[in-house]
């Protein structure tokens, strides 16, 4: 026999209680005051401070290291941005500027420390003139200029629950900034690890921030200058090697490296003798450049953005994102390395090739025809639905 539920002595009293649910709820609403609802909430305010999306900064100081390498100190513009968002050492920001008819965005790792942002309200980035935006910054930007930047982003950070207490840092060229920030973070106590820092340069004159690095040397921080050609007192001559790691660093360690892709391959090979697991090696991703093509062609790129449609030329050696930016379209972008997904757009038609090893789309995005334009080159005319940047 089916079960019969009853709670009170008489079942109809249970029924009555059910019937009263609605009147009771109406009564609660009627008795509640119609006070205005909050315009914001503390957690949301903190979230907004941690992740403001865009920030607006003024160039406060420019330091020239050489004719084509400069460090820029950014402070809030004081109008749209009052306090800079905090960040974790190793993260990057993007800088956006109108250069000629183009609207260009590039990612730069932060070289200042987490406390510089939190307590002293500034960021610094170091830029080497090697492209449209870095050329603009190095030759035209001046103190007082206001720039649009993104919130700090990226996962190239020390994770205490994943990484070992000993960090080996390998920096090549201007790639020093994110690791410099990590060194400062350990030194100032905002992060907790011991670091052995290998700074690899072709010649001693290319070493940046030597005074700052030397000033941090102590129990928990060691810096080794690895100079390929020429000489520098106390430096190691030649290239980075596993012997240098054995000589200076403690094992086991977690490796963080920042430099050109060629350096990453070289360093990975060198440290094979330590049998590192994938989790022990972190490389700061580099932006995706033009590809080499046998025959240069220009295709038609049709961009649907909200209720507008743009038709722009797209060279077969440049990414779809670069083509959009060159045409002045405000397309979304952040990492420019295929990974963060901010530029995620719907492919409506056309053929393309993704930069080898760089396409970090989600599985379902492959299935439903979504692409990351920052890592995709056109092989035919292409049509895209792109979210507003």
């Amino acid at each position: 026999m089916a079960y019969n539920f009853k709670r009170q002595i008489f079942g109809f009293m249970d029924m009555l209680r059910f019937v009263k649910l609605v009147p009771k709820r109406r009564e609660i609403f009627a008795e509640t005051p119609a006070t205005p609802l909050p315009a914001s909430y503390k957690v949301n305010e903190t979230a907004k401070f941690l992740h403001p999306g865009k920030q607006f900064v003024k160039i406060d100081k420019i330091t020239e290291h050489s004719s084509d390498v400069k460090t820029f100190v950014f402070v809030p513009d004081g109008e749209k941005t009052a306090r800079l968002a905090p960040f974790r050492a190793g993260q990057y920001i993007t800088v956006t500027a109108n250069v000629g008819a183009s609207r260009v965005t590039r990612a730069y790792t932060l070289g200042s420390s987490p406390k510089d942002a939190l307590e002293r309200n500034f960021y610094s980035v170091t830029v080497k003139a090697a492209g449209i935006l870095s050329d603009y910054l190095c030759t035209q930007a001046k103190v007082g200029d206001v720039l649009e930047i993104s919130e700090p982003s990226g996962d190239f950070c020390y994770e205490p629950l994943r990484d070992k207490k000993n960090v080996v840092a390998v920096a090549g060229g201007v790639g020093i900034t994110s690791l410099l920030s990590m060194a400062k973070a350990a030194h100032e106590g905002s992060e907790d690890y011991d670091m052995t820092f290998f700074y690899c340069v072709p010649s001693a004159k290319e070493i940046l921030f030597k005074d700052e690095l030397d000033a941090m040397v102590g129990d928990r921080f060691k810096v080794v200058y690895v100079v390929e050609k020429g000489d520098l007192p106390g430096c190691e001559k030649g290239l980075f090697s596993s012997d240098l790691v054995k000589k200076y660093a403690k094992v086991p360690f977690t490796l963080f490296m920042c430099g050109p892709d060629g350096m990453y391959a070289f360093v990975r090979k060198e440290i094979e003798c330590f049998s590192p697991e994938i989790k022990d090696v972190h490389a700061s991703p580099n932006g995706i450049a033009d590809r080499k093509v046998e025959e240069k062609k220009t295709f038609k790129l049709t961009v649907k953005m909200r209720d507008k449609v743009y038709e722009v030329p797209c060279r077969n050696d440049e990414t779809l994102l670069v083509a959009m930016e060159r045409a002045g379209i405000t397309a979304p972008s952040k990492c420019r390395a295929g990974g963060c997904g901010v530029c995620r757009s719907k492919l409506l038609s056309g053929e393309y090739t993704a930069a080898p090893g760089r396409d970090k789309r989600r599985l379902a995005d492959f299935k439903f025809g979504w692409i990351h334009p920052c890592c995709v080159y056109p092989d035919s005319d292409v049509s895209l639905d792109v979210p507003q940047g």
Binding site: A2, Y3, F5, K6, R7, G11, D14, M15, F18, V19, K20, L21, V22, R25, R26, I28, F29, A30, T32, P33, A34, T35, P36, L37, A39, Y41, K42, V43, N44, T46, A47, K48, L50, R88, L118, D155, E159, P160, L161, R162, E277, I278, K279, R306, D307, P332, G339, G341, V342, R344, R361, R362, L363, A364, D365, K367, F368, P387, Q388, G389
Partner: protein
């Protein structure tokens, strides 16, 4: 600029389904979404060689193709069922209490559910059978209610579903106590409670029992490519039907005329897009408190919102591990680890960061073995905070607090299950109430909408949904609405408000 018959604010589960329902009636729809991907919490993200599921533990009420649950039937009607590759699990959960009292693994399927419970509670057949009887009647009563669009015949209900009515006003614990159920069985059967986010003295029995029974009879379904696959399928269907979705486009205002009727939605660049109907897949607190001009908000809407209580604020840790589940000692799919299986006590402990050790943890590989590369494992750990404790966390302490909770979650998991995971972490990502506030805009980082308090549970919400349309043409979908929170509930709410909105448009246009 083009005008739309309806604008959907928020491409979450409810909003996407509502859009399809309106499009299916031949009306034009624009979906506005602040994020750059569909689904709201129903999404995924990549770290290294792992693609993490952002929120779905398992889909309720889906069932196999030849014995579909309501959600599969809905997906069939929407035209998305076959766009998604489905798989399923047959384990309900392993419930472990840190006080050492319980470690129980419960299976799905009526027979296996009973069998597994009897292992821990021998001689309790009749209580489980009675629970099934009651559940079946509740299921039939709900099917009848849906078939008459909520306009139920009182006498018919009394005659055919008397038990449904008699238990309809009680909490889970009140009903189980009246059934004479032993504490141990009740505690193990209650372990799903954190999926609904209210403790069992408060949580409506009908609501809880509907969920449990649908898991038991329809299994736990999962899309193979994470919930992002479902969200992409719904997005594609909207496009096929001629609808539009604008990503990176937050709605910043709702515009009404002097009569208080909807005329448009403002977006971040100031543009106003004309429309007659809005489905808001977001919080009424946001709509009435931030999107509408204060003088356009009816008093009754403010009273309603002020009376409600925010449910759990979310926290989730995602781990990509470089060993297989076997190597790590992970044997189950879904772990509920509680300090105590007394949900009332546990709820209290979940109010503070310092005292909350509750976690609902899933090993995705147990249901989708190839979801990560061979020899690796993906685990995601979720907890809720039942107060606004995260509001006290200062920005400078944010990362430290995140790591404190994450570290403790790992300790608790290892201690409770005996698995060893700490040394195998290859990728780690942590989402806090701030993360949820940032991505979805919910007040205080709430992920469960309004809490299912005893007076604000499923039944009265369903019965009152029509009188809660305070602004003509403005309806709510998602966790804050009449079906409460959870994937299936959100899809169902989108179905309801989508059909209501479409119906209203059709009536107005004829």
């Amino acid at each position: 600029m083009k005008k739309y018959d309806a604008i959907v604010i928020g491409a979450g589960n409810g909003g996407l389904v509502a859009a399809i329902r309106i499009l299916q009636k031949g009306k034009s729809v624009l979906v506005l979404e602040k994020h750059n991907a569909p689904g709201g919490f129903a999404t995924s993200f990549k770290r290294g060689r792992f693609e993490f599921e952002a929120s779905l533990h398992e889909l309720n009420d889906f069932g196999p193709a030849d014995n579909p649950g309501d959600v599969r039937t809905l997906f069939r009607e929407l035209g998305v069922e076959d766009k998604i590759d489905w798989t399923y699990g047959t384990e309900a959960y392993r419930a472990i209490s840190l006080d050492g009292k319980y470690d129980a693994t419960v299976m799905l399927g009526k027979e296996n559910y009973k069998k597994s419970l009897l292992r821990y509670c021998p001689g309790c057949e009749k209580y489980i059978d009675n629970f099934f009887d009651l559940s079946e009647e509740i299921r039939r009563a709900q099917a009848y209610t849906a078939s008459v669009n909520g306009k139920t015949d009182k006498e018919y209900m009394k005659k055919n579903f008397p038990n449904f009515i008699r238990c309809g006003s009680y909490s889970v614990n009140e009903v189980f106590r009246s059934m004479g159920m032993p504490d141990k069985l009740r505690d193990i059967m209650n372990a799903y409670w954190c999926y609904l986010g209210a403790h069992c003295d408060d949580l409506s029995f009908i609501h809880y029992c509907s969920m449990v029974y649908r898991y038991v009879t329809k299994n736990a379904y999962m899309p193979k490519m994470r919930s992002h696959e479902i969200s992409c399928a719904l997005d594609e269907r909207i496009r096929e039907l001629g609808g539009e979705i604008w990503y990176n486009t937050p709605a910043t205002g709702i515009v009404t005329d002097e009569k208080g009727e909807i005329t448009g939605v403002r977006i971040s660049d100031g543009t106003v897009i004309g429309t007659r109907k809005i489905v808001a897949n977001c919080s009424p607190h946001v709509v009435y408190g931030q999107l509408m001009s204060p003088d356009a908000v009816p008093e009754a809407a403010l009273k309603n919102a002020n009376a409600r209580k925010f449910a759990g604020r979310g926290f989730c840790m995602f781990l990509g591990l470089n060993k297989s589940p076997e190597e790590l000692g992970i044997t189950n799919h879904s772990y509920f680890i509680y300090d105590t299986l007394d949900s009332v006590k546990q709820y209290e402990m979940m109010k503070k960061i310092e005292t909350n050790d509750c976690q609902a943890t899933c090993c995705l590989n147990s249901v989708i073995p190839d979801c990560s590369p061979e020899g690796t494992t993906m685990l995601y750990f979720t907890t809720l905070y039942m107060s606004d404790d995260w509001a006290k966390v200062k920005p400078e302490d944010y990362v430290k607090t995140k790591n404190f909770v994450a570290n403790r979650m790992i300790d608790v998991f290892e201690k409770a299950t005996g698995a060893k995971i700490r040394d195998s972490i290859e990728e780690i990502s942590v989402a806090t109430p701030m993360t949820y506030a940032r991505y979805c805009g919910h007040p205080e980082g709430t992920i469960y909408g309004y809490e299912s308090q005893y007076w604000d549970g499923l039944m009265p919400r369903l019965q009152m949904m029509n009188e809660e349309v305070y602004v003509k043409g403005l309806r709510f979908a998602g966790g804050y609405s009449m079906r409460l929170s959870g994937y299936s509930s959100a899809y169902n709410s989108g179905d309801i408000v989508g059909r209501q909105t479409a119906g209203e448009l059709v009536r107005e246009d004829n």
